[in-house]
């Protein structure tokens, strides 16, 4: 038996760029499908997109809520000194846990000889407490907040 040498040459009829063009088209198609799927996913999940939109504000609100909660449980003097920012957080977030701090402040202004709050400031602090509790919406849904407003004379 005789073996003849065979020379394998590339098929010159097939253009060189064809395969890479096919790959490119496939790649673009896959990328487009991924992008369309992502967009569809975002559109069909309103909660996720709302969370993404509100990311920055919620960070500030989380920070202020964390600050206020720690203040409510901390020294009374610090709570009295920062009462205005504290009451703003109470009014803005409507967090029922912050009623504790409001009760501590109310105890001060309701005590005739209470320390820390000057006699001349008591009326203003009482108004701040009542108005912040009302603005928080807690008076309608939290028994302690409603009772506190009643004790402070919130009906006036």
């Amino acid at each position: 038996m005789q073996l003849d040498p065979v020379l394998v040459l590339p098929d010159t009829d097939v253009p060189r760029g064809l395969l890479s063009r096919r790959s490119l088209l496939a790649l673009l198609g896959a990328g487009g499908a991924v992008a369309a799927g992502s967009a569809l996913g975002v559109l069909l999940t309103p909660h996720a997109s709302a969370a993404q939109r509100g990311a920055a504000p919620s960070t500030l609100e989380e920070a202020e809520l964390r600050w206020a909660r720690s203040l409510a449980e901390g020294p009374l003097g610090a709570l009295v000194a920062a009462r205005s920012p504290y009451l703003f957080v109470l009014a803005r977030t409507g967090d029922a846990g912050l009623v504790d701090g409001a009760e501590r402040l109310a105890q001060l202004v309701l005590t005739v000889d209470g320390p820390l709050v000057a006699a001349g400031d008591r009326e203003a602090v009482t108004r701040q407490l009542v108005e912040s509790l009302r603005a928080s919406g807690l008076v309608e849904r939290d028994v302690r907040a409603a009772a506190l407003v009643a004790r402070l004379g919130g009906a006036r």
């Binding site: 202020e64 205005s84 920012p85 703003f88 009014a91 108004r127 701040q128 108005e131």
Partner: protein, 102 residues
């Protein structure tokens, strides 16, 4: 001498420097329907108010820090507006009485 402190006393000459500004300069009172002017020195972008009958309101702070905000006409005299600069963890704030007339 208001707003200044004496750093050193040299016979015949006093060296003084201005006291640091408070984070918020808030008036004690504002007239019904008047303009509440608050000077913000903390560089925050907005301040927060608790306005009787209106809940909480966020007011943007201009570059010069001078906030001018018109009190809604239905906020009655005898009520109090609570102010916060929302600058955590060391926020500043105060209370402004709404009065019938200044």
């Amino acid at each position: 001498m208001t707003g200044w402190k004496l750093l050193a006393w040299v016979p015949g000459r006093a060296i003084q420097e201005p006291l640091p500004k408070p984070p918020l300069e808030i008036p004690d009172a504002v007239a019904e329907g008047g303009v509440l002017v608050i000077q913000v020195n903390t560089g925050v972008a907005e301040i927060g108010l608790v306005v009787p009958g209106h809940g909480t309101v966020l007011v943007p702070v201009p570059k010069d820090g001078r906030v001018e905000w018109r009190v809604p006409p239905d906020v009655p005299g005898g009520s109090t507006i609570t102010v916060s600069d929302r600058n955590y963890p060391n926020p500043a704030g105060g209370a402004v009485d709404v009065v019938g007339s200044l």
